[in-house]
């Protein structure tokens, strides 16, 4: 990029100067750089897509199991609906309701869910429903979800209460919210609140699934009944 050339009439002006060649090289470099950045941006976008697929996988599974889990003899006892059979709770279940996931899983696997068994009816422990924490812990460790990875970190996705753009640790995380319907006539039809680990899943639960994108903003995946 040198000094300005004279108007076209200047017979001495060279049609293509070294400065022009330099400019073309510069343009080529710019093009290569922007392309490389574009590829980088696409890779990042694909990570966001991967995060969305994670959320969709959860949504698909929860939707699919929504009706089944209320059926008697449901295989995944930790996520079963209704109340836990007393027999299933009394002898083997840990005393603490918020038991470790391993324990919860073991409980559900070892105890055959036989709600009508006579021994249960005579047990003194009141009927108890599964909690979301037990179900989540079981699913995250004992099912295909254990292989799920956060595309941004390569580690298993973290379940967080909400995406916070100020916290970049939330990128690629999954958010489960509980949607509670308000009484008819309310100004707002429903209220969304954090789904706590202690929340019961004995009855049908309205869930909202979201994932955190590259900027730690929430991307809504689905609203479903579990």
């Amino acid at each position: 990029m040198d000094a300005p050339t004279e108007p076209p009439s200047a017979a001495t002006a060279k049609a293509f100067t070294r400065g022009d060649a330099g400019f073309l090289v510069f343009i080529a470099l710019v093009l290569v750089a922007v392309t490389a950045l574009g590829v980088l941006a696409r890779r990042e976008a694909l990570k966001t897509e991967g995060t969305k697929r994670n959320g969709e996988q959860w949504a698909a599974w929860l939707t699919q199991e929504s009706a089944k889990r209320f059926e008697p003899g449901y295989a995944l006892a930790a996520c079963a609906g209704g109340t836990k059979a007393a027999a299933a709770v009394a002898p083997e279940a840990p005393e603490n309701a918020e038991a470790a996931p391993e324990n919860a899983a073991a409980t559900s696997e070892n105890a055959a869910p036989t709600p009508t068994a006579p021994t249960i009816a005579s047990a003194p422990t009141p009927p108890k429903a599964n909690t979301w924490g037990e179900c989540l812990a079981f699913l995250s460790t004992q099912t295909e979800f254990k292989d799920m990875r956060n595309p941004f970190t390569g580690k298993p996705p973290v379940f967080i209460p909400s995406c916070n753009p100020a916290d970049h640790g939330h990128i690629g995380s999954i958010v489960f919210d509980k949607v509670t319907a308000n009484p008819p006539g309310s100004a707002v039809a429903s209220v969304t609140s954090q789904l706590l680990e202690t929340d019961s899943i004995g009855d049908k639960v309205q869930l909202k699934i979201a994932v955190c994108d590259k900027g730690s903003y929430a991307i809504k995946i689905a609203e479903l009944e579990f």
Partner: protein, 553 residues
């Protein structure tokens, strides 16, 4: 962006004022294609549909619609790769494909049939074969061939889609002639001058520069549309990756344009000083806008952990400002604001004063009654602005008697004070337009004075009419007015001054004519040099200088 250009001066003919047709002057006369009905069918068809040398036939229209269909095909090709769009609309896509193929096939067959009439091929032994083997015809053939190929051979859908990309090559039919014209216009010019001709408006740009501007404008619109659609969850959910790719392409295009502008700006008058010229160009508002258009992309890539990504994405909307380049209406508005800036600043100062006073009084009267709403003066400012600007959301309102009385008074004052800048701008804008029209009138006056309008003058009139958005009727009215004034002036000039003075109506007309001459003088002379001589060398008295300033406006 003003991409319309006046036609080349060389093609215009000198017009006489006596039988002046405004339609021809403005270049709006509908030319009837002079094609004889007695011509043989093939010749007649060629003359109507494809002959580029006959003005008023359908050749330009056909080229335009074919060009648009090619661009539409390009978009369809992109959308076909998005399952979320393609799958639900498979039928529509197929219909569009068949429609396009139909049109392109008709076009190809028509050109093949009419090739013996084309000056380029008619001298050859086998005109149709010569046409079929010409580069453009091969491109046309490749654009339709894959579709028919699949009817006979089992072609993979992906291969078919890739082959369909060949349709884009049809755009060369439009681009190559524009490039050839550009090459002729820039023969003997340096590489940098050619780059300059491509990106800056100049007499060397021609159609290619027009296409370049259209291309940039199209990408501005596409990328802005993408930013808007990205905010729609259902769309961005499906097309997130496509939006990223699209943004990267847009940034690559805008970055290259930015570099080309900075590199070749030294060919612009006023920037001819190597790096200093480029720095001056880089600081100019339009180039700053160009930089803002590409900056968010680079910031997002490098500083995404520091900056809010949603803000950066919305910031990409500044690309829309790129369309204001060369827009005269924007330039006029900027001129008006800079001219009226002292008054606007004064009005702004009064507004700020009033807002602060109102907020303070609101706080004083209402704090005790509504401590949650009038918590302090800064929070009361919101209420003050909403009240003074007559918006009145009603979410915060005074409840005390003193507060309500004050609000009544302030609402009245607010209407007046807040209206001042709007009224100022509106009146200044109108003044500016009036001034520009006066200028055009004076130009027309000078042009029409000699009774003929030469091609250069026609080009000036068309350019000015385009710039000021004047239609034929307005130009006609202006010309009539000038003709009338010329007539009166001719009559007045023939009379001695004492005769004019005897008749007040003649005296008034003479006075108006003299004023008009002074205004013309003011427009044509160098104002700085004039002031230096008139005031600096005491050639005009203070009252004469003041009168001069008043008349010239």
């Amino acid at each position: 962006m003003d991409t319309q250009q006046t036609p080349p001066v060389g093609k215009l003919k000198t017009l006489s004022i006596k039988d002046l047709d405004v339609k021809s002057l403005m270049g709006n006369a509908v030319e009837d294609a002079n094609i004889s009905r007695d011509l043989p069918m093939r010749k007649w068809l060629y003359s109507w549909l494809l002959d580029p040398t006959i003005a008023g036939n359908h050749q330009k229209g056909i080229d335009k619609w074919i060009g648009l269909l090619i661009v539409a095909n390009l978009f369809v090709l992109v959308f076909e790769h998005v399952p979320g769009i393609y799958e639900p609309n498979r039928g529509l896509f197929h219909f569009f494909d068949i429609f396009s193929i139909g049109i392109f096939t008709i076009e190809y067959l028509m050109r093949l049939y009419l090739a013996p009439e084309d000056a380029e091929f008619k001298a050859r032994k086998n005109a149709r074969l010569a046409y079929a083997t010409s580069p453009f015809a091969i491109i046309d053939f490749l654009a339709v061939a894959p579709f028919y190929l699949q009817a006979f051979l089992p072609v993979d859908l992906r291969v078919l889609r890739a082959l369909r990309l060949l349709r884009i090559l049809k755009l060369f039919r439009i681009i190559i002639p524009a490039y050839q014209d550009f090459a002729i216009k820039n023969q003997g010019r340096t590489f940098r001058q050619k780059i300059h001709a491509l990106v800056f408006e100049s007499e060397y740009g021609g159609k290619l520069q027009e296409f370049f501007h259209l291309f940039i404008a199209a990408w501005v619109l596409i990328s802005v549309l993408a930013v808007i659609l990205e905010s729609v969850h259902s769309i961005s959910y499906l097309l997130n990756v496509e939006f990223v790719i699209l943004d990267s392409i847009a940034v690559a295009i805008f970055t290259i344009e930015y570099c080309m502008r900075l590199y070749s700006c030294v060919e612009e008058p006023g920037f001819k000083n190597g790096w200093a010229g480029r720095w001056r160009q880089a600081k100019s508002p339009s180039t700053v806008i160009d930089l803002l258009a590409i900056l968010p992309f680079f910031l997002e890539v490098f500083l995404h952990h520091l900056l809010d990504l949603r803000f950066l994405r919305v910031f990409r909307l500044t690309r829309l400002l790129k369309l204001t380049r060369g827009n005269d209406a924007t330039a006029t508005l900027a001129k008006v604001i800079s001219r009226e800036w002292p008054v606007i600043a004064a009005a702004g100062f009064i507004m700020i004063l009033l807002v602060v006073l109102t907020a303070s009084l609101g706080y004083l009267f209402e704090y005790e009654a509504q401590p949650d709403k009038f918590e302090n003066i800064p929070t009361s400012i919101y209420w003050a602005v909403i009240t003074l600007a007559s918006v009145g959301y009603g979410d915060i309102s005074p409840v005390t008697t003193a507060g309500r009385v004050m609000t009544i008074v302030l609402a009245f004052i607010g209407i007046g004070i807040f209206a001042i800048p709007a009224a100022l701008l509106s009146s200044a804008f109108s003044d500016e337009l009036h001034k520009e029209r006066e200028e055009l009138k004076n130009n027309l006056y000078n042009i029409l004075k000699d009774g003929v309008i030469d091609p250069d003058e026609i080009a000036i009139i068309r350019r000015e009419a385009l710039r000021m958005h004047l239609n034929e009727a307005e130009i006609k009215a202006l010309i009539k007015l000038i003709e009338h004034e010329l007539e009166k002036e001719a009559n007045l000039k023939s009379l001695p001054i004492n005769t004019i003075a005897e008749k007040p109506e003649l005296a008034v007309e003479h006075y108006k004519s003299l004023l008009s001459q002074i205004r013309q003088l003011a427009m044509l002379t160098d104002p700085v040099a004039f002031d230096a001589i008139a005031v600096g060398k005491d050639r005009l008295s203070a009252s004469e200088a003041a009168l001069w300033k008043q008349i010239k406006g």
